[in-house]
């Protein structure tokens, strides 16, 4: 796994640039990741990202758009407006998690 320098520290990433170590993530790093893909974090963004991390800790996999709505209460429409075009991938990148695996 490559090591990349982000937010002034070295972190493990995969070939696409997604963090591979859950514990190497913090909010400061997330801000840099968000900036990398053109997203400015607001309270709404943070709520969703933090929920994703909590859910990953409990479930062992990244929640899909569907699960974010049914289990997390984040409307699909809001997910698309906060993380335009590719919400699933953008959210997981910023949250330092793997891309969602599920189809729905």
């Amino acid at each position: 796994m490559p090591v990349a320098e982000l937010a002034g520290r070295q972190v493990h990433v995969n070939e696409e640039g997604f963090l591979t170590e859950f514990d190497e993530w913090d909010k400061e790093l997330a801000k840099v990741l968000a900036t990398n893909i053109g997203i400015e974090m607001t309270d709404e963004h943070w709520k969703l990202i933090e929920w994703l991390r909590e859910d990953f800790k409990a479930q062992g996999e990244t929640a899909t758009t569907r699960r974010l709505q049914t289990a997390g209460g984040f409307a699909v429409k809001d997910q698309f407006s906060l993380f335009p075009k590719k919400p699933g991938k953008k959210m997981s990148y910023i949250a330092g998690l793997p891309k969602p695996h599920g189809c729905v």
Binding site: V3, A4, V13, G17, F18, T65, V76, F80, C103, V104
Partner: protein, 178 residues
Amino acid sequence: MTATAIAPTIVPNFDDDSNEGRKIAFICSKGNLDMAYPALILANAALGEGIETHIFFTFWGFDMIMKNRMNDLQFSPAGNAAMHLPIGDIHLPQSLAPMPGMTAMATKMLKKQIADLDIPEVPDFLDQIVAAGGHLWACQLSADMNSVSEADLREDMDGIINASDFIEMTNGAQVIFI
């Protein structure tokens, strides 16, 4: 100790230009429960990739969008040679498939399998697709044949359009018939 090589920062290319202008359209022509899902799953995935997505409902596919039918789609094992019994992985004999109660039982089983995977029921799934920016269209000819008007359909349909409209709208799109 070996020095670790530091890779240049890799940033995923989420707004891939190759998707710019990409369009995808599904034609849903079936009203069986099992045939309703392929388009919904793929349309949902396409929207999640930032692709403009349309679904056109025609013929039996109208059952997916008609208010009085959309909650009651059924799955029949009749004519489906790939139908296996839940125990022993043996074929369900086709002579048994049309027996009374078989469709109800098969529908119940399929619905349970779908729900176990947290895949929504058809109307909910279409809600999600619309929330993600998908477009739903109904076929004019099918509506005329069945004396169906907009009032009979989901409220969030983009419209009832004819074949020419569909062809015009899907200029440059990938079209998938189901």
